[in-house]
């Protein structure tokens, strides 16, 4: 009896602290997006030749519904929205840092693949990022990207012209949209510096094969989810990624892919956030363009 009381006391004492929310390193304190005028930290800055014409830039909001948890999220479209029914569009799923201003240069770079605004590029701030309402959750990420795909679909985009691109944290919704049934099924998947799973993060950090449930309830598991992806897949990863090691994260995802076509670009000398500039912007854009055209 005494032991039972002690055990129950311990269970009651154990609280519900989880480390899940710390995965999302968002900044929702801004009052407006600055894009080209943003002066905060970014991974690289493009010169004026990559500028997006004013008439090919649209910022708008979408209402995202995550099983009743509704949030107004911010989105940008780089390209001509009137020709989405004819264009190929890259849905860019950004990483976990700050908000769209931080990733603006990356979105612009993609909008210059194959020529200025040759492909349309859509980017959103997930709920809890930037000006987007709500609290970031794993299911919220998927709901937010899904509502974006639905917007593109309503503009006339078809699956065969949709390419989805996930960087770092964005690899989770990108892989999820490619593997499961949502508003649209991308025809191609590009992952840059993806993470395999929370479990790998735990194991890398501890050197032990300890269960990830001790620290997080996150179920994101790109290494497993990629097994359900059949679309052509391009994986890009910095060899010197000091944050999500190429060997334990990217290589596992690449190895687990069983689809029709895959291509790996291991970038010598690149860390987590500098793959495009280490490759060189022209080379980076060429790799992306060639993959999309395959």
């Amino acid at each position: 009896m005494r032991h039972s009381i002690i055990f129950l006391t311990l269970v009651l004492l154990s609280s519900c602290l989880r480390l899940d929310d710390n995965l999302y390193n968002s900044d929702n304190t801004i009052s407006e997006y600055k894009f080209d005028n943003y002066e905060g930290e970014v991974d690289f800055v493009l010169d004026t030749s990559y500028k997006i014409p004013e008439n090919k830039f649209l910022m708008f909001t979408l209402t995202s519904d995550d099983e009743g948890d509704k949030a107004e999220i911010y989105a940008v479209y780089l390209g001509d929205t009137s020709t989405i029914s004819e264009d190929t569009v890259i849905m860019y799923c950004h990483g976990n840092k700050d908000h769209m201003d931080f990733y603006w240069q990356r979105a612009k770079l993609l909008a210059n693949v194959g020529g200025n605004c040759h492909y349309g590029v859509m980017m959103i701030d997930y709920r809890g990022f930037g000006l987007s309402e709500g609290v970031t959750t794993e299911s919220g990420l998927y709901a937010d990207v899904n509502v974006s795909l639905n917007w593109l679909k309503n503009k006339g985009l078809t699956n065969d012209r949709l390419v989805i691109y996930g960087f770092s944290l964005g690899s989770a919704p990108a892989t999820e949209m490619s593997a499961e049934n949502y508003s649209m099924k991308p025809s191609k998947l590009i992952l840059e510096s993806p993470f395999a799973s929370a479990e790998v993060m735990v194991h890398d950090a501890s050197s032990l094969a300890i269960p990830s449930s001790y620290f997080t309830n996150l179920k994101i598991d790109n290494a497993e989810k990629i097994k359900k992806v059949n679309q052509p897949f391009l994986w890009i990863h910095g060899v010197n990624d000091a944050f999500l090691a190429m060997e334990t994260h990217g290589e596992i995802i690449y190895k687990n892919y069983n689809g029709e076509y895959s291509e790996a670009v291991r970038v010598d000398g690149a860390d987590h956030g500098d793959v495009p500039n280490t490759m060189g912007f022209v080379e980076y854009m060429t790799v992306i363009d060639n993959f999309i055209k395959k």
Partner: protein, 222 residues
């Protein structure tokens, strides 16, 4: 995911062998009881500075014989995250100190963990050894030693082979012993043969291997 400053928090309790100092370095007297509280952990880069991870644990010990003490501990920080973590062990004095020749103790320990989220159980055997010197006729002592954790699982995430099965650490510490209270400070060099590069946690160390841990402890004897 560019910022380590926030994400390191995700895995701040990950080097479990580093979440506490040496429990009992020198066995208690027969029949003596000891309750201790410890704070500290591996050094990490956080918000532009270096801090020790604030692990906390409680430990109780009992002197079974003059050279044999049993102990058990509860990891309070883990408990806050829904993980019941304890280590149960014995400390045996193998050689008593003779002048400058140190006393030597060995502590085999069973580290047990169980989470309330997915009911996952883990067992990590470990063995500590310490060399200790009482000095200047006082009960204060200085010690150096090692901690060795063993990973018994053969596979890690996604059925990859678990490469590392021995996780060593080396410690150096000092205990100020008063009539009823003791105060300990300890530094550990954890996992010193493994690179600390290319992982999500920004461990601080002498170079690119392992991490340094800093701990303080306070105990009361009965």
């Amino acid at each position: 995911m560019n910022s380590k400053n926030i994400l390191i928090l995700i895995f701040f309790s990950l080097i479990l062998g580093a979440c506490a100092p040496s429990r009992i370095v020198k066995p208690l007297a027969k029949g003596e009881k000891d309750v201790s509280f410890s704070l500290g952990g591996p050094l990490i880069g956080f918000a532009g500075t270096t801090i020790p991870i604030p692990f906390t644990s409680l430990c109780g010990a009992y002197g079974v014989k003059e050279n044999l003490t049993v102990f058990g501990s509860l990891h309070v920080t883990s408990l806050a995250y829904g993980v019941f973590q304890t280590d149960l062990g014995i400390v045996r004095e193998m050689i008593a100190q003779k002048g400058f020749i140190p006393g030597i103790s060995i502590a085999p320990t069973a580290n047990l963990m169980f989470d309330k989220w997915e009911s996952t159980f883990s067992f990590y055997p470990a063995i500590d050894y310490n060399f200790y010197w009482n000095y200047k006729q006082s009960q204060n002592y200085f010690y150096v030693g090692g901690t060795n954790w063993f990973e018994l699982r053969s596979t890690r995430a996604h059925e990859e082979t678990q490469q590392q099965h021995w996780i060593p650490a080396f410690q150096i510490g000092h205990t100020f012993k008063r009539p009823k209270m003791s105060y300990t400070i300890e530094a550990k060099y954890i996992n010193p043969f493994v690179s600390n590069n290319n992982i999500i946690v920004d461990y601080r160390s002498f170079g690119d291997k392992g991490t340094i841990g800093i701990y303080i402890g306070i105990s009361k004897r009965f």
